[in-house]
Symmetry: C2
Subunit: 241 residues, 2 copies
DNA sequence: AAGTGGTCTAGACCACTAA
DNA sequence: TAGTGGTCTAGACCACTTC
């Protein structure tokens, strides 16, 4: 647990500790929902001070990987609705209400990956993908039509599943051992095509908010590509700068 | 610099220090670009430890209020292009390039505030606002049409100004002593009206990304309301989750 | 009462910058 | 060489939760 500080590749100790602890999440040594050892235990085990462990744990808390509760302990974050709502789902009713959307799966297919999909998900030439097509409703009204693409190799049991639950990040975690760590979104305005318009109860050509998301696992490998077409008549995408 | 820790209104010491230092920015005791005292000097002056001052300064750095440079010192952040580009301007070329937009002011008016404007900017019944209408271009092509609304009382010298510079946050800071601290954005999809379409070189009815921003000063009072209509044919709004 | 995270302190040493 | 921020340590006490 020591390192010469000169040279161009200096990594602070708290960062090394953070990386080691994230590795435990990747390896599944610490599972979602479980309590991890206390700061002092980790400090003793790793041979660093408690303050250094704290700095690593604080960083992981900021990444939403851990949840700390005074008096109780530190826990591995769960992909529960409240967390998704806070971290990943930014569509909010115009009156400020936050609701978790319901989903209706329209289609699910296993197919060879297109060139675009291979590039986005880092797949080889012969790899396949799952494509999930669903409609999401907020307060009973269909608002989002979205297509999700997953690398087939990481979701091998998916064919056997009867239904796909509403919270897919909980599915990835519980059934496939994949934790989504980060995601990048690109937003554009687009026009509704006939099929999407029919789904969302609007007219073809109506403007839609188009959200393209690439989500990565804890090891920063791409896991999910998603394009969402959103009717923003009564909802908006909110962001603090 | 001490406080009983029981009771419901406990505020950590580093937070109190942070608030005191932000007050110096509000009061203008520390001006943008200037170097502030070292951690040890502040600690001695405020009667707290250097570690507590550091935690306050780190928080302010995270808020983009300060810039720290190892070996040089800690400086009050400037509303310079690079900072705006990083913190406030999220429209990026599809190839990933970040450019600072040029602006062309189409109109500037002083008028009584509408009911909506009064509500958004926290104004009284007889207050006036400035309305600035401009077109912004990226790499020579007009991409954004936006309307900015400012409380007239906070921008009294604006009538005398010949031109309005491209970087309005630098203007607010340098000419009116107002530092924008935070902003909230609401994104929707909308259709171009005839005037906006003519400005942006598209067709009326084309989908546009509509960004509504409310920016607040360091003391959390609203300062600027802005609605931007963006053509996203070759650009997108990017965000990390 | 015991164990946890949250705060605060004091001091050491390293790395970077400028004079 | 002096001064700055960046990292790391060791230890104290407080607040919250559970038993």
């Amino acid at each position: 647990m020591s390192q010469t500080k000169q040279g161009l590749a200096f990594t602070p100790l708290y960062r090394q500790v953070r990386d080691m602890l994230v590795q435990r999440l990747i390896d599944g040594a610490w599972t979602p929902g479980s309590m991890i050892p206390s700061e002092f235990q980790l400090a003793a085990e790793l041979g660093v001070s408690q303050g250094t462990v704290r700095k690593a744990l604080d960083a992981m808390t900021a990444e939403h990987l851990l949840v700390r509760r005074q008096g109780r302990g530190t826990f591995v974050a769960l992909p529960e609705e409240s967390r998704i709502l806070f971290q990943f789902f930014r569509l909010i009713a115009d009156d400020g209400t936050r609701i978790f959307p319901e989903s209706r799966v329209m289609d699910r297919q296993l197919a060879p990956a297109s060139a675009d999909e291979r590039a986005l998900l880092g797949l080889g030439i012969d790899e396949a993908v799952w494509r999930i097509d669903r409609v999401r409703s907020l307060g009973g009204t269909p608002v989002i039509s979205e297509q999700i693409t997953l690398p087939a190799i990481r979701f091998e049991g998916l064919a056997a599943m009867e239904t796909i639950p509403n919270n897919v990040y909980a599915l990835y975690s519980e059934h496939f051992g994949i934790t989504i760590g980060k995601a990048t979104e690109k937003l554009k305005a687009g026009a509704a095509d006939a099929r999407t318009a029919a789904r969302l109860g609007c007219t073809a050509g109506d403007p839609l908010l188009v959200i393209e998301r690439l989500a990565t696992a804890l090891d920063d490998t791409p896991v999910e590509h998603r394009v969402s077409y959103c009717r923003t008549a009564n909802f908006h995408y909110r962001l603090d700068l």
